[in-house]
């Protein structure tokens, strides 16, 4: 059924920290690698080594620039994948029932055997989260790595989406956003997490954490201060002796 469930038992999703992301695209690569070799049709590439490469990706990192409060230019790396919306317009437009939102965890999925490749769900999504695979002729999208998060064959630390597992700066967090006590919900609360395009009325589950302002950036600053005023021991004696020359 492509009607949306009124409520879901859990709301699994991602929290993406725009302050911490360094734009390395490791999540893009990890996503492509896991999802091309596991669940459903592989993510095809067209002309991958030619002049105009193009391919199916479920996660892409855009880079934006804006003017900071002190007038200096700021750069924000902006990873974007399916936001697993509570009111997902991509699900209700599907004519075949291939698109669905799971009642148990709120994950938005495509049943690839039912997809006719009409592309209407990609039109309905404001975020560009769905891409038609040109080789398979069916719609592909982020599954939150359903074949990892419930996979008991994997070690426990690997039962999270590939993008979250690989992120070297810890800019991506995975959890239940319907549970106010969960670490992701606490993070959203403390850092004023926000929705993308709230005016579209999609009620996205995924949240984004804003870049910190200059005065907030104090985590690394103490580490940049000089560690000691003067060296001791032999090197200190050498330093002082050379200074006297």
């Amino acid at each position: 059924m492509t009607s949306l469930p009124a409520t879901t038992e859990r709301s699994l999703g991602l929290v993406i920290d725009l302050d911490t992301c360094v734009g390395c695209h490791a999540c893009v690569t990890a996503c492509k690698e896991w999802n091309t070799s596991a669940y459903g049709a592989p993510l095809s590439d067209d002309d991958p080594y030619g002049a105009a490469p193009s391919g199916t990706f479920l996660n892409r990192v855009h880079t934006f620039e804006y003017t900071g409060e002190d007038g200096t230019p700021k750069v924000v790396h902006f990873p974007k994948s399916c936001l697993h919306c509570a009111d997902a317009p991509c699900v209700t437009v599907c004519p075949t029932g291939a698109s669905l939102k799971r009642v148990e965890d709120g994950i938005v999925l495509v049943n690839e055997d039912d997809c006719i490749g009409c592309g209407l769900c990609a039109w309905a999504c404001p975020y560009g989260a769905r891409e038609m695979d040109q080789a398979a002729g069916i719609m592909k999208k982020c599954t939150l790595c359903v074949d990892r998060i419930d996979n008991r064959n994997l070690p426990e630390q690997d039962r999270i989406p590939a993008c979250v597992r690989t992120c070297p700066t810890g800019a991506r967090h995975f959890g239940d956003l319907a549970d106010p006590e969960s670490s992701v919900s606490q993070l959203v609360e403390k850092r004023n997490g926000f929705d993308l395009m709230p005016e579209q009325g999609t009620a996205p589950v995924n949240k984004y954490l804003p870049p910190r302002r200059n005065e907030e950036i104090s985590i690394l600053a103490p580490l940049l201060d000089p560690v000691t005023d003067g060296a001791g021991g032999f090197l200190g004696w050498l330093d002082r002796a050379l200074n006297r020359l």
């Binding site: 193009s54 004519p95 309905a124 579209q200």
Partner: protein, 294 residues
Amino acid sequence: MHPAPSIIIFTVLSGLGFGMMTWLGLGATATEGPEALTLCAIAIALVAAGLLSSLFHLGHPERFLKALTQWRSSWLSREGIASIATIATFMLFSGLWGVFSIRSAALGTLTALLALTTVFCTAMIYAQMKTVPRWHSPLTPVTFLLAAVAGGAVPFAKHLAPWLLLLLGTGLVIDALRGHLAFQRSGTTLASATGLAPGRRPRLLAPPHTGSNYLMREMVYTAGRTNAPLLFGAGLVLAVLIPALVLLSLQTGPAVAIFATVSHTAGVIVLRYLFFAQAEHVVGLYYGRHGEKI
């Protein structure tokens, strides 16, 4: 939005065919026998050609029967069911009329209602898209229905046809004026898309990849917009002015009806091309469209 030829052909031909079915169902001509059968066959052929063309748009056309299952939520599914119901009712109506000379007013009226419902469902596929502000308007079903009703009347050269055409032209002009500002009025901006306050002048610094992708080809399509006003004018002249003037000034006859229909259809193809080519999807914001350029 990418103006896919299969979808343009589908909406134009099926719209014209369903419009003809509406007028035939309501008794637009007094003909009987082979002539009636020919007119009915033309309407069915137009709709069938349109529906076949739409199948080419699919990644998996062989699974199209699955698309009839989700009528509770999906306008595309409703369109599929309504079109099949219309064709079945109309074939029964035209068989009785052409072969047995029984013109069933009840079946004819039902055909007209079903045909207009189908066109409405087609239009709602586009009008429901909040992501494409230019389409997200009650004027989208209004112009689609006007195009079907006016276009369907042209082959019969009825007295009503020129006035319906002028009504269509008026509707299209009003819709174009509204559509021009629709994106701005939607309230979706790069600031709302990224959460970076508008006062901070967010702008795209680097796209996610150097090449193209499905989203850019399908929804961030920008070609053919520079000459949009010229094409819109040409479309209006072909679709509305020429057939309206011809039907008003010349004696009615098969040649006049065919000429007016061909001109009208050519114009609607141009206008339907613009319907897609001028429509802007909000995802373009993430790719540096509608925003400040560096």
